[in-house]
Symmetry: C2
Subunit: 306 residues, 2 copies
């Protein structure tokens, strides 16, 4: 499957019906996952805070993990060493463990396993498969939203000229992409960063409003290489954030490319923004003449540290 086909397949993932079974009596949630798999944790944290949600992206399960913890382990291969290590610790601590993978060692070691149905994709292209079962398990992804998200993702597949325009602007200046999110799209901003890394082979970073008004802001105006940064900000529609985006640009004398998500709910807009970033990073990789699918260094690293 061509990488562009993988990207376009995201909308089909909106039809995924699997759900995390949420046991009674849990008092906290831990989501373990690295890189593209961890982003599900960041995004879920922004949509659900009725219980503490902790992202574990290292070898360890937090000390508090117990029988009242819902521990969700995500890894496309099912063999990510950090995630396996943390999950095995969680099992010893008697947590309620749900695994989400397309096979591998993770499959079957928990109470519930959610099988990612396709095994021929880049892990980062399976974000719907990873995220939807968690959102749906907590009643945050309904049929209505599945239909809505499908429609808006299909629109983007049909016309992503704006994404290409951003990619061209970045490419022409050999710029470093900087993505500024805000609630509930902070996790999506980090997703863009990782997609620029993997699809475009370009370094960049993300931060979020209002946090960046306490650090980045002082540097934007006076940093060297100022023309080498390409700033993008998501419009959440929240008045306080819109004001911050405007004022930050004016006082730093810089221009941010703003991206307005389409959708009729926060979840739909989140998937739209996520997919928008897929296209910007894909187009930038193509313009640069690099292979967006190539993750050989990550594979080599896994071998060399084994």
């Amino acid at each position: 499957m061509e990488f562009i086909e993988e990207l376009r397949f995201l909308k089909e993932q909106m039809k995924f019906k699997e759900k995390v079974e949420v046991p009674r009596g849990i008092s906290n949630i831990v989501i373990a996952g690295m890189g593209g798999s961890g982003i599900a944790a960041m995004i879920f944290q922004e949509f659900y805070s009725k219980l503490p949600v902790t992202w574990a992206n290292d070898y360890r399960a937090p000390d508090f993990v117990s029988e009242s913890t819902l521990f969700i382990a995500i890894s496309y291969s099912g063999n990510t060493e950090e995630t396996l290590s943390a999950t095995n610790q969680a099992i010893r601590k008697k947590a309620h463990v749900v695994t989400i993978s397309a096979g591998g060692k993770l499959q079957g070691i928990g109470t519930q396993h959610i099988a990612i149905p396709r095994t021929d994709m880049q892990p980062r292209s399976a974000s719907g498969y990873m995220l939807i079962p968690i959102l749906a398990g907590f009643g945050l992804f309904t049929e209505l939203e599945a239909d809505g998200a499908y429609k808006f993702l299909a629109d983007l597949d049909a016309d992503n000229a704006k994404c290409l325009a951003h990619a061209k602007a970045i490419y022409e200046r050999s710029a470093i992409p900087v993505i500024y999110g805000s609630h509930p799209y902070k996790g999506v901003a980090y997703r863009w960063k990782t997609q620029f890394n993997e699809n475009s082979k370009v370094l960049g970073y993300s931060n979020s409003f209002p946090e960046l008004n306490h650090n980045d802001t002082m540097a934007i105006a006076q940093t060297y290489l100022k023309d080498k940064f390409y700033f993008m900000a998501f419009e959440s529609g929240l008045e306080r954030i819109t004001k911050r985006i405007d004022v930050t640009q004016s006082i730093t004398g810089s221009r941010f490319a703003t991206i307005k998500p389409k959708g009729s709910s926060d979840i739909e807009r989140m998937f739209y923004l996520l997919h928008y970033g897929d296209y910007v990073s894909y187009h930038l990789g193509r313009l640069r003449g690099v292979d967006p699918t190539d993750v050989s260094l990550i594979e080599q690293l896994k071998k060399n540290i084994a």
Copy 2:
């Protein structure tokens, strides 16, 4: 007080005796704080995980906040709008609220107030005052560690030629600093990023092992402007991480400046690394001829959005 005197004052903060009073029966902890004040949350999360610790760096208190939540609000001025908003929500939800500030509206609205004794410093220079009461409240900062940290910080005050050497290397190449931390120094890596922003007026970012092996790694080798990034990695001493640092450099054909912390415990080494970054960012600001204390844009922003 000269800014360099402020930096050197960090060791005196190690003598701070105030402690957060931890009530019985709490089931989770939320720490609210923006920028320099929020870093206390990130660092505490790495040293304490017997309960879920959530960092709130926005206007809202998480939905789960209740009478079984210990909610710690940190703001040097005591008037940070995001922190005040989140704290007022936490009070309405009947959380046990502890405030840490040098006055302002935050003072007195919670159950316990910890007063930051000096009111003539940059907020980001008060990291000891913000962090120690939380660590000490949970038994993680003993007299022995206070003495040890004092000694190692004093050593750095007496001789920080290595910090200056890093600053010169960054300055000579007009480079973008990239700081790679690892457990338990991920929060410190983010602290370095914010100090580069504020003290040096330079954009940069942080990430951590092993997470960066799932994204940054693919970009380091092939990014444009490759010579314009200055990579630094903290040596935690953990074998698995040392291996990752080595392999990442070799497969990407790049060199990271590694920083080995001094100290006889993780907490001492954390403070040493934190202070090390203070100096690198301070020296870089001086070399660039910018004023490390200047945060006028952040002040202007606060006025313009009011």
